[in-house]
Symmetry: C2
Subunit: 524 residues, 2 copies
């Protein structure tokens, strides 16, 4: 553990903030200056200052939530489960309650988030991703998109550079554009070898050491944006060893690490082609402690001695995207800057969403503790995360099993990269060398047309690159999701149609093309 | 009605957009280029593209809302009402339903807002504030703060100017700072004469006609930010005649009108000192039609032939702030630009909040229609707005009655400006001329200390100015809210304490001062 204070963080990271930071101050118009020492405040003042509506004017006086005992399974006949419990959001909660009442939830509130939800986020971080310093903090955002766009705003100006993995979640580009600044990509190792997956530390180090040779017109990067676990789109996960190397490189070059981790809790167990439907989660072979200490990948936060990491989590993947709730964890100085950006834009995340999440998680915790006396309350939520991870393992199993049965797969016309976690599977198409020589994009676009005819929507790999040209030679893949299916038949049909499309590619492309495509595929 | 098209609006208003507009494009990575004409799309494709979690993985499968039949009253013994009905948010709604099911509400969704809520906003505008052109549209925001900060982002650069009323909601300043740009204030007529209240059109016209004399270093303003109805902090409302003048001035100088209207629906009936508790709402003397056509002040939208007005509404004051839901109405071109700012930052407002609001309003509409056969569904919501306006009228009556009984009020040491609507009452302190000569701020700060000792929180008027110096001579007032009280005693005590503080001011100030204050009052 290091003993850095908020002031130390200010010294370290203020130089990396956007030049607009100073004018992004927020002070309430109800704050006055220094009060005279003689003043004796009344002990029971009446409130005629800020315009908060009294809670009896809210049209809602109670909310009851039907909470599923278990997430649905792909093989359910109906997506509505019979087993559920009811969680109440009542108007008032006793003082100090871990739950949130409507009188607070529906009112104006602290822009950092409600205390009850902040407490939960701190329990999550303490249990799973505790930093190696004490002065860390969390702030609630209106989902990770909001948090990440605010982090970009906090750090970047038009002359700032952000380092990004060459394949990435493409929305980082508009967030960056919103902030100003430019992007430089870092090479990924897209490999089945778990010890080498993800950012190539040697390439990154070389890039930074010889920055002005590579990028004579760009400032050195202020931050690295990385999806280290269950990377989108490739599904890959950086090993602890890779993370340690990257972390040290970032320390050396004074780079903030923005760790976007939407998928980390959706950790799958390895696929066994001999027992395709095996799922150690479902058989109860994995305890919450195992999940936390052995299954989940360690966050960059757990390596962080310098307050250099900003970890972005979301409740979208394990609870629900429509809640629009996420949180950022980092050193208290930078977190206060994210809060300031809340102050001057969105104010605070939906209190209705916060109350739904808080009260649901508190009840999950109480239920779990009733069966596991010594467990911390947050384990109720982690148990739910495991159930979701289990269902994603099931879904992965279904898709993999179906794909493994396809002739074009057996003939190695295409293959799968096994994701360690997340919602996505990478389907690598083994294009013929002569197709690669002309245009990988054109061949993949042709395949996309075939997929539309055969009836299968997937995402083209090159659409998820920072720079199509730089990454095209590694873009002969499709990203397929396992999240949306409502029936195992979706995977059966999906695999068959994928197979048919690939077979057609190999028989039609360059020989007897059905589609008129330009030299480089689709026109933009 | 004018027949302007989206393209006309583009011609008119693109020149007023921020220079960053072009780089704020958003396109989904699942969009590909132009598809070949030969392609025959499969009619029942399977979905392996975007990562939307299947709805049976959401932990919530139903939400039941207890909806009050009537808002609470100040004289209720308990803020929880006995009379309520239950509104369900079920997992699935039939196609075309006006309600929102959880399968959609908890999912990723359109960044413009859910269709069901957009439909409601269009019903509100069509019923109450219909523009004089057809191609208007609405977009959902995460509350008005979010909407207004996005409008600032959409329009303003560092060299842009925003015109603002000299007294205003002070958070406009951080929104503006977030966007860049500078502020120029326009003089207000703070007068009891309803025909003259609000922005002084002559002063505004003179300012713009002789811009370079007044502001040689600022560009001409792109937009005017105005709280035209129930202005914050003064409670004043611009007459239709004043609005017409302002609108014409804005047309002449090509200025966009940003109409922030959080309080418009909280319209009070005039106070009658002979019958202090009179409330025509409560006695049923006002129909929904009366309220819409006679009581509510007309939005700038209703004058708008050129698509020049962006009206910001919020559900915070009449439903609940914690929902974080607002909407912007304006011409379809500018609304599409607000949507783009959603795309690249917050994405979409809480779906849980949207579902709560939509399903509640749909049920309110159905109930109202059961009793009023020919009424449109939205009248159920308008009826609720009237009930809230009625309660604010009650609250205003209570405070006014208590204040009118105070000796210092009778002696004209202070007076009240009657608000036409909203949550705030302006208490003007009739400072002695010799105090005004030295420092109005110091005298008001002294009064603030006395209020703290006597036990009454209010907001200092000068804290709600754009430029303290410019407006100080009109800043001898306090802003008091009527919204937060939970009991009539709050107003009784508040009035007594206000009285005592003012009496003490007149006996202590400059004579035998208890508090050590600098020459200009509080230090910052």
């Amino acid at each position: 553990m290091t003993q850095l204070t908020v002031n130390d963080f200010k010294q370290l990271y203020q130089p990396l903030l956007s030049k607009y930071d100073k004018q992004r101050q927020f002070s309430s118009f109800t704050d006055v200056g220094e009060l005279p020492p003689e003043l004796q405040r009344h002990k029971t003042p009446v409130w005629l200052a800020n315009g908060q509506p009294f809670e009896s004017l809210f049209p809602i006086q109670e909310i009851d939530l039907q909470i599923r005992e278990n997430p649905g399974s792909l093989i359910d006949e109906t997506p509505i489960s019979g087993k559920y419990s009811t969680t109440k959001i009542q108007m008032y909660e006793p003082k100090g309650s871990s739950k949130l009442g409507l009188s607070d939830a529906l009112q104006y509130s602290d822009t950092k988030g409600h205390t009850q939800l902040l407490n939960i986020t701190k329990q999550i971080i303490s249990r799973i991703s505790k930093p190696k310093y004490d002065e860390w903090d969390t702030v609630i955002t209106c989902g990770s998109s909001d948090g990440l766009s605010k982090i970009c705003k906090m750090l970047l100006d038009e002359d700032s550079t952000l380092l990004v993995e060459e394949f990435t979640y493409p929305n980082i580009l508009p967030w960056l554009n919103y902030a100003g600044g430019s992007i430089v990509q870092v090479k990924l190792n897209v490999t089945p070898d778990p010890s080498k997956q993800g950012i190539d530390p040697e390439a990154m180090s070389e890039l930074l050491e010889n920055w002005s040779d590579h990028h004579p017109n760009e400032n050195k990067p202020k931050a690295l944006y990385t999806i280290a676990t269950g990377h989108n789109p490739t599904g890959l996960t950086q090993s602890l060893e890779v993370r340690e190397k990257i972390y040290n490189i970032c320390c050396k070059h004074n780079i903030i690490i923005i760790e976007d981790d939407p998928y980390g809790y959706l950790q799958m167990t390895p696929y066994d082609s001999k027992d395709p439907m095996a799922n150690p989660y479902a058989t109860g072979d994995i305890s919450v402690d195992d999940y936390v200490s052995k299954i989940l990948s360690p966050s960059y936060l757990t390596l962080d001695t310098e307050g250099r990491v900003l970890r972005c989590e979301t409740f979208s993947k394990v609870a629900a995207p429509g809640l629009r709730l996420g949180f950022v964890t980092g050193n208290a100085y930078l977190i206060s800057k994210v809060k300031t950006l809340n102050d001057i834009s969105t104010r605070f995340a939906s209190g209705a969403s916060q109350a739904i999440l808080v009260n649901m998680l508190v009840d999950m915790g109480a239920k779990y503790q009733a069966e596991h006396k010594s467990a911390p309350a947050i384990d109720g939520w982690i148990d739910w995360c495991m159930k979701i991870a289990s269902e994603y393992t099931n879904r992965r199993n279904h898709l993999f099993k179906c794909v493994h049965e396809q002739p074009a797969f057996k003939e190695k016309k295409f293959e799968l990269i096994e994701p360690s976690c997340g919602m996505f599977v990478t389907v690598v198409v083994n294009l013929k060398p002569e197709w690669k020589k002309t245009s990988i994009k054109r061949a993949m676009d042709y395949l996309y047309c075939l997929l539309l005819e055969e009836g299968c929507f997937a995402v083209l790999g090159y659409k998820m690159t920072v720079d199509e040209k730089f990454s095209m030679e590694r873009s002969n893949f499709l990203r397929c999701t396992i999240s949306k299916a409502n029936d195992p038949k979706v995977f059966e049909l999906g695999a068959q149609r994928l197979n048919k499309a690939v077979e057609r590619l190999f028989s039609e492309y360059g020989v007897n093309e059905k589609f008129t495509l330009g030299k480089n595929g689709f026109k933009k």
